[in-house]
Symmetry: C4
Subunit: 214 residues, 4 copies
């Protein structure tokens, strides 16, 4: 009854908007009479944590989008549970701008870094919920041919990173931020050929039907 | 003259944006000199009603999106009336962030809970207006094969829930919130096979033409 | 080189966002200690002009979207000029939330009603610029078979309504608002069969190729 | 594994939202008791730099969208690097509202004009990064048949304009703004036939496969 086209469109829409409203963190400073470029520049320099948290969240969201894209692409069958689990995932994704703004405003405090990790953990948990549901419903999904991509260890283990970052916040929040910054760097540098079936990762062309892959 | 593709795209766009601007309710608190994590955490705890109203509205919107998706999917014919009725529906959907913000800010007051119910009622009324219009124009819509799905009682009765919730607000707004929270839970837990034609609900694959279902 | 699919997607995106950010006009009022439902309700009643300007702008935008949809649907050929003219149209459409907010905040003043009319006029002028460009490039567009739909009088005359509304604002802004409210009502009630070619308006099915219409 | 459809949808979404949130720069002025149309009009006149910076950014974004559209249209193969480079490009595009707002608020200062140029430079650098990556992966891209479209000089040279504008800001920011305003005017007036392969620029119809062009 339901097709994945509109589910993807809704997800793309939500992620695109989350990406873009991150810029609303940047506030135009109010200058007093007699103030000018020097004060504006100094206010910009003081807002560099806002820039950094913007960059981190933007790249982390691109990684989420890429994972979601790759997971949904090979899916043929969706149902009400898919929509529900996808909705829960989007609900946590849409929260990301809040801890991002907190972290940009109060970089020296622990609570923003912890909240950022908790939201990341919830995004991850809901993503893997959706992931394992989709692999169960779509038995011929390319991911299922890879042992570590379907095991509890091979998927949920990623979430330990967020737990570690939350723990680091109790030492210093700067360490947590370093972990958050490392997440997209790791994802873009990692060679993924060992994780995805070789045939799927070599042929990147637009293939309407996945049957030709076998 | 008009195709449903762009109508769905516009609706997906509006719902995706409504979902995402719900996060703008979360305001970064202003800390005074000397305040730190304790004050930030305590301000977060005090904003838990904001979190709750965010979660409720997000899930209710996913339910609306799912209903709209399912209704439009089997539609072949749209006209100016469809666009007008769909526009009215989106107009009320787009209002949801306002009572959500009010309810998050003043959880102990009655007016936010009442306004939330009134907006919900208007969303529902405009949805069923669109629903019955579409079933009239598309005589072979799968929903028409189910008696309760086309009867006044089987559709508009859902709206009584919002009327009850509005009534509850005069006792205590917390009771209304409980009803609003129950709506998405009910929708995701209910077995829908009895409501949708069996052939339609069993085959969830992407089917460009619906004729093959008969 | 360019396809209309992404041009439509961009336009749908912009219009969906404009529709949705209209709700940001509604501000959560700040209550003092001791204030409650009575004050919240009275603040809501005082914001009824905001509700009215929201409804008018929402419906006017739906009318713009419908016109844009219908115009683009039968278009086969786009070029850089199309993108430029469409961009100018979207630029004025995206301004609508500003005079809407002004009109909601200061309903008794003349300037908001005048600015609303000026923006409406600019939307209309850029729309008809795009309209006549597209009909020139796509000689077999269904609109070209209707004399009044291609004449200067038959299209640009619509803009006189905005000029009249701007003039009315110098008497009283409430008269202008009445004209703005009348625009979508007129568009949804008017019988359009005489304007669109009969074959095009009768067959509303999804037709990938338009050639079958001849 | 990945198709360009959703990459285009995400990019369209981000650019549509950036275009639309530019209007949030326009703030409803607060009138004191006894103030009316005169004060509202005078406040509007003082905000003309906001209008100008809105128009410039809107048109520059339409040019970026057009370039991105044209580049992606002929692409058949995308991979993780594409998504990463496209993400970096969108990250800088999504920043544009901030220097736009600064420039509208403080048109007489140098820093906003410089920051606007720096963001423009970063948009351009990331665009050409994506550009040369895509031409390397898609060897039959129409752009590759044109010598100047693939040379370092023919592409990166465009960025010199932003460097010049940044330099001008040290004389007067109004000169920089003139350069920024000239960018979209240049792009829309330039004859592009000499740059795109003739066959590609003449046939503007929707062509699902590009093979028929050869």
């Amino acid at each position: 009854m339901m097709t994945k086209g509109r589910l993807e469109a809704l997800s793309d829409g939500v992620i695109a908007i989350v990406l873009t409203i991150l810029v609303l963190e940047f506030k135009v400073p109010h200058l007093e009479a007699g103030e000018g470029d020097a004060e504006l520049f100094s206010s910009f320099i003081h807002s560099l944590p806002v820039v950094l948290s913007y960059v981190i969240s933007f790249l982390i969201l691109i990684v989420w989008w890429m994972s979601h894209h790759q997971l949904l692409h090979a899916v043929k069958q969706i149902n009400r549970t898919t929509i529900f689990l996808n909705g829960i995932f989007l609900m946590f994704i849409a929260l990301i701008p809040y801890p991002t703004a907190l972290m940009g405003e109060y970089p020296e405090l622990r609570f923003p870094a912890i909240l950022y990790g908790v939201i990341g953990l919830l995004c991850g948990a809901s993503y893997y919920g959706l992931y394992h549901h989709l692999l169960k419903v779509n038995v011929d999904h390319p991911f299922t041919s890879n042992r570590s991509a379907v095991s509890f260890k091979g998927t949920w283990l990623f979430l330990v990173v967020y737990l570690v970052a939350i723990g680091f916040a109790f030492i210093t929040p700067y360490l947590s931020v370093a972990v958050y910054a490392a997440i997209p760097i790791y994802f873009f540098l990692k060679k993924w050929d060992d994780w995805l079936p070789v045939t799927a990762s070599r042929h990147l062309w637009y293939i309407p039907s996945l049957k030709s892959r076998k």
